[in-house]
């Protein structure tokens, strides 16, 4: 398969995440403020105008998307600086994947930093409203995902993790690399479980108010389904550990498939938003879903990047895995913060 297919898939991701996401999320600024203190906007029309007119976030993301695309093309056309020639050690598709993942993670860090700055500004400038509202309906996972489906989903995850433990304890594969890979599977499953819990527990916010009651249902179901995403990769890694060979073409197809899934979901969300809400030019359907999708993309790419390393590097790379896991946690925390999981934030539903 030509590397141009990889480039096309990454280009679609870049357009979706760095082209479309910032436009969508920046429309969410005003509802977020209104959610915190509806009266503040009326008292500060100049600030509202300034926020609505602000374009620097969109432009910075667009610029990063352009840089990412140009870097991928430069690599493909072999117009690549000598100082970065170490990337060439891997096969072309793998080098493209690593390059794309690195650029993507850097972009996500930029988005996270912007989110932190925005929420700090919000905390400092927009006082919390004294009037607050909440539902008296209890929220639980059972309200959104049928129990049999929960049982099947979690059974599959437990069986997957148990397979790692059993193989590790009974087979002759208990190397440092094996235990590192197993720990990574546990951590990644934990992160996705945390995502589900957060989706259920998080305080209703601007998204729910703008989009309606169906928003959380979609969000929770998406988060629940996302828990199954690490499974194919985990099973492939387990096979790799047991068989002792690397299933690189499988990795490549799985990675590209996942990136396409993220792009398709992003497009579907945008289209459904436009279909349901003719006034959507100003109010976005969801920032959480995009945050969730971006996180999923980030986690999988990080995982993929870590595991696509040459075997000897991979075996010596447990420390790197740990640091990437920490990075996942950090970005997750930022996404959660962006979605209102902060005791200091406030909602007016």
């Amino acid at each position: 398969m030509s590397e141009w297919v990889d480039i096309a898939v990454y280009a679609a991701l870049i357009v979706a995440v760095w082209g479309w996401f910032p436009v969508w999320s920046s429309r969410f600024t005003i509802p977020l403020i209104a959610d915190r203190n509806p009266g503040w906007l009326a008292d500060h029309p100049e600030s509202e105008w300034r926020l609505v007119e602000s374009r620097w976030f969109r432009w910075s993301c667009l610029m990063w998307g352009s840089v990412s695309l140009l870097a991928l093309l430069a690599f493909q056309f072999d117009v690549w600086p000598e100082q970065l020639a170490s990337l060439r050690a891997a096969p072309q598709w793998e080098a493209l994947k690593n390059l794309n993942s690195t650029l993507f993670i850097a972009g996500l860090i930029h988005v996270a930093a912007c989110a932190v700055l925005f929420f700090r500004w919000l905390d400092a400038n927009v006082p919390l409203s004294s009037r607050r509202q909440a539902t008296l309906e209890r929220r639980s996972l059972h309200d959104y995902v049928p129990r049999p489906l929960q049982f099947v989903g979690y059974a599959v995850i437990v069986v997957h993790l148990a397979m790692w433990v059993v193989v590790g304890l009974t087979g002759p594969y208990a190397t440092t690399a094996f235990w590192g890979a197993m720990a990574f599977q546990f951590v990644i499953s934990g992160v996705f479980l945390l995502l589900v819990i957060t989706a259920v527990r998080r305080r209703p916010g601007a998204m729910g108010r703008v989009v309606g009651q169906g928003f959380r249902r979609t969000e929770v179901r998406l988060a629940f389904a996302a828990q199954l995403l690490p499974l194919p990769n985990g099973i492939a890694r387990l096979y790799e550990q047991v068989a002792g060979n690397s299933s690189q073409s499988f990795d490549r197809f799985m990675h590209l498939g996942f990136v396409l899934l993220v792009v398709a979901l992003a497009v579907a969300l945008a289209r459904s938003h436009q279909r349901r809400e003719p006034w959507s030019t100003r109010w976005p359907r969801s920032a959480t879903s995009v945050g969730g999708l971006t996180l999923v993309a980030f986690v999988t790419m990080t995982q993929g990047a870590a595991q696509a390393l040459p075997r000897e590097v991979y075996e010596a790379g447990n420390a790197q895995l740990t640091s990437e896991t920490r990075e996942v946690g950090r970005v997750l925390a930022l996404v959660l913060h962006q979605n209102g999981v902060d005791q200091r934030a406030r909602r007016i539903d």
Partner: protein, 128 residues
């Protein structure tokens, strides 16, 4: 069903929660066996201290309006409507006794107090 609180109101937040749950039970919006949100959920949604919600729930439980069933959560109790009515009656009685005590202290007699009460009731009822 939603609950609305005002943090700068003279009425303490926990009393606002108790009062609104009473209202919901009395009006039938919260029926017996309806699960209530957890303390963590309600406190998080209202961005208030968990102890405030816990205090409101404790009062409601003491009044026999809600029932906490361990890990299953908190529910509206069977007979909660009757308990709410009882609580309201006893609160009204307390207020009335305080007023009567004040009026007696002012030197008014039984008939005068009854007339005042009757007039005040007519006026307020007319206001609707």
């Amino acid at each position: 069903m939603d609950i609305v609180i005002q943090t700068n109101a003279p009425e303490p937040v926990y009393e606002q929660i108790v009062r609104q749950i009473h209202d919901a039970v009395k009006s039938g919006r919260l029926k017996p066996d309806t699960p209530l949100p957890t303390v963590r959920q309600l406190a998080g949604d209202l961005v208030i201290n968990r102890n405030t919600v816990a205090r409101a729930y404790r009062i409601l439980e003491e009044q026999g309006v809600i029932l906490t069933a361990g890990r299953k959560g908190t529910f509206i109790r069977q007979g909660a409507v009757r308990e709410v009515a009882k609580v309201r009656t006893s609160r009204a009685e307390r207020v009335m006794r305080r007023v009567v005590r004040t009026l007696l202290g002012e030197g008014l007699n039984r008939k005068e107090i009854a007339d005042i009460f009757s007039t005040a009731l007519s006026v307020e009822m007319r206001k609707g």
